[in-house]
């Protein structure tokens, strides 16, 4: 996928403001986990950026790239667009009231998390969270590289000869 220059600019700017790492990024560090966005997110940058920030605050893993958060959340923009748009707008209002800036612009994670704790019982938050708890952690692409979970094993004959009892407890 080769995004158009215009969209790239948009997404990059949004990413810089949403990540809470703006200061670091401004200091010249690379984007790190912020790899290329999928095209739909570039086409819908405001909602995508809000969802991404939210997703990363709900299940923060610095080493996991944006697309692993964005892809499972994408269907929400079709199935629950109003819920998502209203929810993010509400979050921005709360952020403006508390910090004088939009939710995604709040630099400190603890401040963003405090705002999210206020809304965690609501449908909007739980819809995003329940979507992500499956969408993020049921992704085989992440299992072994990120979590050390090896997934299906019967095709390899299980672990009978592949380490089911290979642990040596040498730390006690």
């Amino acid at each position: 996928m080769i995004p158009s220059p215009k969209a790239t600019t948009l997404s990059r700017r949004r990413f810089l403001t949403l990540s809470g790492q703006g200061a670091l990024l401004a200091g010249g560090l690379a984007l790190g986990a912020g790899s290329l966005w999928p095209s739909w997110a570039l086409a819908d940058p405001d909602l995508a950026a809000g969802l991404l920030r939210l997703g990363r605050d709900i299940y923060p893993h610095e080493a996991i790239a944006d697309r692993f958060y964005l892809e499972p959340l994408r269907p929400l923009l079709d199935s629950d667009r109003t819920l998502i748009a209203d929810g993010l707008a509400d979050l921005d209002r709360r952020a403006e009231a508390a910090h004088g800036m939009r939710y995604g612009e709040i630099p400190r994670e603890a401040d963003r998390v405090a705002l999210l704790r206020e809304i965690e019982d609501g449908d909007f938050f739980q819809r995003v969270r329940n979507t992500l708890v499956v969408g993020l952690y049921d992704n085989p692409e992440l299992w072994e590289p990120h979590f050390g979970y090896e997934g299906a094993s019967w095709q390899q004959g299980g672990y009978l000869h592949r380490g089911f009892n290979d642990l040596v407890i040498d730390w006690l």
Binding site: D57, I58, Y59, P60, H61, V113, R117, E120, D121, F125, Q126, R129, V133, V134, L136, Y137, D138, W143, H146, F147, G148, Y149, E150, G151, A152, S153, W154, G157, G158, Y159, L160, R162, G163, F164, N165, D166, L167, I169, D170, W171, L172
Partner: protein, 526 residues
């Protein structure tokens, strides 16, 4: 394999459910020349339907018909429509069970006599003793292929997960540590291969090393020509004649068409939610409170085990997902010892979850997000876990009732599954959590945390056995006190929960019931 019995054949035993109770019973009856029709609500699965994939298998085989979780417990919030994690399919929950095959302890059959009355608990002795059931335990163990003395199969080698827990447990002073007994082959047995330590026991054993009626009792019963299994057949009501004898079962087939299967006897084995639900839904002018319910105990005394999970983050990778899911058992706390501040005991069972389920179950409350969760997940391969399986006291209020207005796809009232803790359950659970934490501390864990209850797979007690008809639903053979030819053949017969996983006892009771039914038929009483 293609035996078909006529709907009007009133010489068949109709068995509702094909799991540990129903599947075992159908096979045992067939071996004695007794014909049966098994009505199974779920589909038939093949071995290649079994995948090593937590969510795929959950979606494929779980009982997901609407149910309402109720009562003062966290599950009411976290899983409002999934009180129980059990299977809808030919083979029932023996597809999903983890293979732990512990016998009840002798005193657990007479807990009431041992400890006396306990306020708020509806304690009752079983009308059978351990000694009476013991020969059936041996038969069940041979039948299922349980590692240990009855089969001569050695226990499993300890997997990494159990090694970690055991290292801590030994330092805490525990001595009763075993990687068995399990109904999971450690060598070829019963024409089934050995365990390959693939993990995913609860998603169904792809190798057939774990006993399940799906690929043992059910096809073998069918092969006799004396058993017909009807998948996707949902029992709607049990009918009776003017004398109050069961005459047949009305059921809906997979297309929603209704049929009436006549019966010589009816055996209900639909698990502890569906079995009482069916009896309650079968109310009539003769039995206005439901079938076999003169005691008022149908649907009451629902027990799930008092449970909890503790996980530890270890200094090095453990890979808990490798090997059997419940790979080892610690029995030191299973004894009855009131000095601990509670009655009943508990078993500590090492357990694992994959990343998908661990993420879902670690804290399913609304507040279960953020770095507390993700820092544990980032160390997934360093985790070891243990599950506490404790005696859950019978409480009359805990149980299955029918919703006034909500109906399922068959037009039947939706079941409400109400459960709260007895104070004894809370004390036992706290003790178990504390001991499990001590084990992981002693094993050098860097972080230890609690994982709350997930939907329960151990559901027992809602049609309990009793010596007196006023105290329970069925007698010592699982025959209902009220109706001569109506039996209960699953875990809902349990008078108490014990500190042990229920399947082995369900199978032992089903084998015993088959003998009883055959003898009574021989005497022409049935």
């Amino acid at each position: 394999m293609t035996t078909r019995f006529d709907h009007d054949d009133d010489g068949v035993v109709v068995i509702i459910g094909s799991g540990a109770g129903g599947g075992t019973l159908a096979h045992a009856l067939a071996r004695k020349g007794i014909k049966s029709v098994v009505l199974e609500a779920g589909k038939r699965y093949q071995m290649n339907d079994i995948e090593n994939d937590e969510w795929e298998m959950f979606k494929k085989i779980s009982w997901l018909d609407e149910r309402i979780t109720a009562g003062p417990r966290q599950l009411t919030e976290t899983f409002p429509n999934l009180p129980a994690w059990i299977v809808k399919g030919v083979g029932g929950s023996t597809i999903h069970w983890a293979g732990v095959s512990l016998r009840f302890q002798p005193h657990e059959f007479r807990l009431h006599s041992e400890v006396g009355d306990i306020p708020g608990a509806n304690l009752l002795d079983w009308p059978i003793s351990y000694e009476e059931l013991e020969p059936y335990y041996v038969r069940a163990e041979r039948h299922m292929g349980v590692t240990g003395e009855s089969t001569g199969m050695p226990y499993h080698q300890w997997n990494n997960n159990f090694k970690v827990l055991a290292a801590g447990a030994e330092r805490v002073g525990y001595t009763q540590l075993r990687a068995g007994p399990m109904a999971i082959n450690t060598q070829e047995y019963d024409d089934r291969g050995r365990c390959m330590h693939a993990g995913f026991c609860m998603q169904g054993c792809r190798f057939g090393a774990k006993w399940s009626t799906m690929y043992t009792d059910i096809p073998r019963a069918e092969a006799t020509g004396l058993c017909e299994v009807r998948p996707r057949a949902m029992a709607l009501r049990i009918e009776h004649d003017a004398d109050g004898r069961a005459t047949g079962v009305v059921y809906a087939d997979g297309d929603g068409n209704r049929h009436r299967q006549r019966a010589r006897a009816v055996c209900v084995a639909g698990n502890s939610i569906e079995s009482p639900r069916l009896l309650l839904n079968s109310h009539s002018s003769l039995f206005p409170e439901g079938l076999a319910n003169s005691s008022g105990q149908v649907g009451r005394n629902y027990m799930t085990h008092a449970t909890s999970c503790i996980f530890g983050v270890m200094p090095k990778p453990v890979h808990m997902h490798r090997g059997t899911t419940f790979a080892g058992i610690i029995s030191d706390e299973a004894r009855l010892d009131r000095s601990r501040g509670f009655v009943g005991g508990y078993t500590l069972e090492v357990m694992s979850l994959g990343v998908p389920f661990f993420a879902k179950f670690m804290d399913p409350t609304h507040a279960g997000w953020g770095r507390d969760i993700t820092t544990a997940l980032d160390k997934y391969d360093h985790l070891s876990g243990v599950w506490i399986c404790g005696e859950d006291l019978p409480v009359e209020r805990n149980g299955i009732t029918l919703h006034d207005t909500r109906r399922d796809q068959h037009g039947l009232p939706v079941p409400i599954v109400y459960k709260g803790d007895h104070p004894n359950d809370e004390k036992l659970r706290r003790h178990g959590e504390q001991q499990a934490r001590r084990c992981y501390e002693a094993a050098g864990a860097e972080r230890i945390f609690h994982v709350p209850d997930f939907p329960t797979s151990h559901n027992v007690g809602t049609n309990r056995m009793s010596a007196r008809p006023a105290d329970g639903v069925v007698n010592r053979f699982g025959q209902t006190h009220d109706i001569d030819n109506l039996f209960v053949s699953d875990g809902s017969q349990f008078t108490s929960s014990g500190a042990e996983n229920p399947t082995l006892t369900i199978v032992a009771l089903a084998l015993r019931q088959a003998d009883h039914i055959a003898e009574r038929m021989q005497r022409r009483e049935l």
